[in-house]
């Protein structure tokens, strides 16, 4: 794993635990389909949430959430459609979220 991917997976790990502590039940991690990828799919109160996790170690290239442009949004939307179609359950509402994680300090990258 490269340093960048590692930072990302640590961020997703962190995001998942935050979501769980907020009462979400994690359905899928790194859901991949031909239309795109969704970092975390979690459910709370029977409303599935599609969550994109953005991890940045600095703000040099703008805010993390700004990186989720219209193209990325469209990929997430299509992947979400795919997931809903194949999950076999009926939901009435859906939730799309972006989680920003800003890393100040990384220690011990050797797992």
């Amino acid at each position: 794993m490269t340093g960048k991917r590692k930072t990302g997976s640590i961020g997703e790990e962190l995001a998942a635990s935050i979501l769980q502590s907020k009462g979400y039940y994690i359905l899928r991690r790194n859901f991949t389909c031909p239309y795109g990828e969704i970092d975390i799919i979690a459910v709370k109160n029977n409303v599935p949430a599609f969550i994109e996790v953005k991890v940045r170690s600095n703000n040099r290239y703008g805010e993390p959430c700004e990186a989720v442009d219209i193209k990325k949004q469209r990929r997430i939307k299509n992947a979400a459609r795919y997931f809903i179609a194949q999950c076999g359950r009926k939901y009435e509402k859906f939730d799309f979220q972006v989680m920003e994680i800003t890393v100040n300090h990384i220690e011990d990258l050797e797992f």
């Binding site: 805010e63 959430c65 700004e66 989720v68 949004q73 972006v98």
Partner: protein, 513 residues
Amino acid sequence: MLAKTRTAALSGLESVLVDIDTDISSGLPYFNIIGLADTSVKESTERIKRAIINSGFTYPKNRITVNLMPAYMHKRGSHFDLGMAVGLLRATGEIKAEKDDSHRIFIGELSLDGEVMPVKTAFAITAGIIDQEKGKINEIIMSYRNCRECSILTQNTGISLIPARSLSQVADHIRGRHIKAYDRSHEKNEDAGDTADIDFSDVKGHEEAKEAIAAAAAGGHSLLMIGPPGTGKTMMAKRIPGILPPMTAAEQIETFKIYSCAGMTGEDCCSKMKRPFRYVTRNISRAALTGGGRIPLPGEISFAHNGILFMDEMLEIPQEIIEALREPMEEKKVHIVRKEGSVVFPADFIFAGASNPCRCGYLGDPERTCTCSASKIRSYRSHLSGPMSDRIDICTEISRVDYERLMDRKSISTAEMKSWVETARNMQEERFKGCAFRCNAKMPDSLTEEFCRLGNREAGFMREIYIDHGVSTRRYYKLLKVARTMADMRESPDVRMEHLTAAFHYTRFLKKE
């Protein structure tokens, strides 16, 4: 949070107050402008963002929606930047002020470092606001570089003009650390000045044509010069600006407004504006002449407002383009109709044209023979239709000057012609005191009886002309008015025989088939 600010938008020459609603809501970062804004307005999102950050304010990470009202009206231009940026700063809480901004309008473009840049349409927008929405606002904030030209409009209106340099300065102003209003009193009133470096004395001979040109400039008559190539038509036309009387302050404002609305003003102030002289050649399009475009902009005839429109090689111009001048010449304004609505631009110009007598150019030349066939000549002349030629007051034929004349040291100079024009203008000023018009050409036909009183001999002459030469009613009155100008140029209180014959002489060509 929601914030409200104000600016104005141009629709033709009229200004409409535009309310800017800025709303910040949760969501991914996005800057959305709605309210029929065109590309130049939508591009302002990036300018505003950088200007806000570079001025040291924080820029929100949320969804920003800006609504420009009234939403049905098309908006264009870069002057919305300042109002939107202030709205955004208010919405984020960067600017906290007790009073709202409904009494002030913002006109200005922002540079990336937060400087308030001037916009060329500022004059037209301010003029429109003062005409139509005067009671609603009492403060206009604009770039300090626009203030000099606009201060002539705001004086004695109770509206203060705030010269802004940067976005942070404007923010301080709203918070209560006021910028001093622009003070016009130290402004020197610059005159247009005489800068004509070409003189009529460069054109030798042509006394008759020069008299005709002076009469056109003096009385506001339309003029046509006909002659073979190389005899000096264009040369004389280029010297016309030198003999035009200076513009009054009100005329300057009217004309400057038109240039401003088209974004054609330079650094110069409107008090330096000279009577316009617009030179039009044959490759002009109809829209460029009368004004037009999807979003209507003024054309050459409006740029020539209060001045002269000169059409060179007039009969080479497609007839439909020449005919487009008919209504504006009568009404002194032009209507441009679009499906979004129509706009009116003033177009009160003196028409001047020059043309060859035929396609080869030598018809009637004593030295060279014309090679055109009769039908060719007819088709060439037909570009000037009956109704159009009827609108031309003075037509002068220009022919080759003799060698003796060419070598003559003395010829009528600009100074001399200008003095005729001034004499005639003074006479008209005196005569038309209290009237709505100021020159002979604009005199209503019904008043010719009063202002162009004829003696017995003169009345008999006019009767003869009307009956024997079959002139139209319009031409009959035009003859009287041109004769009145001829008399004015010679300081004659009455229209006499010689003035009538001179006026009639200048219609010779128009009668020819």
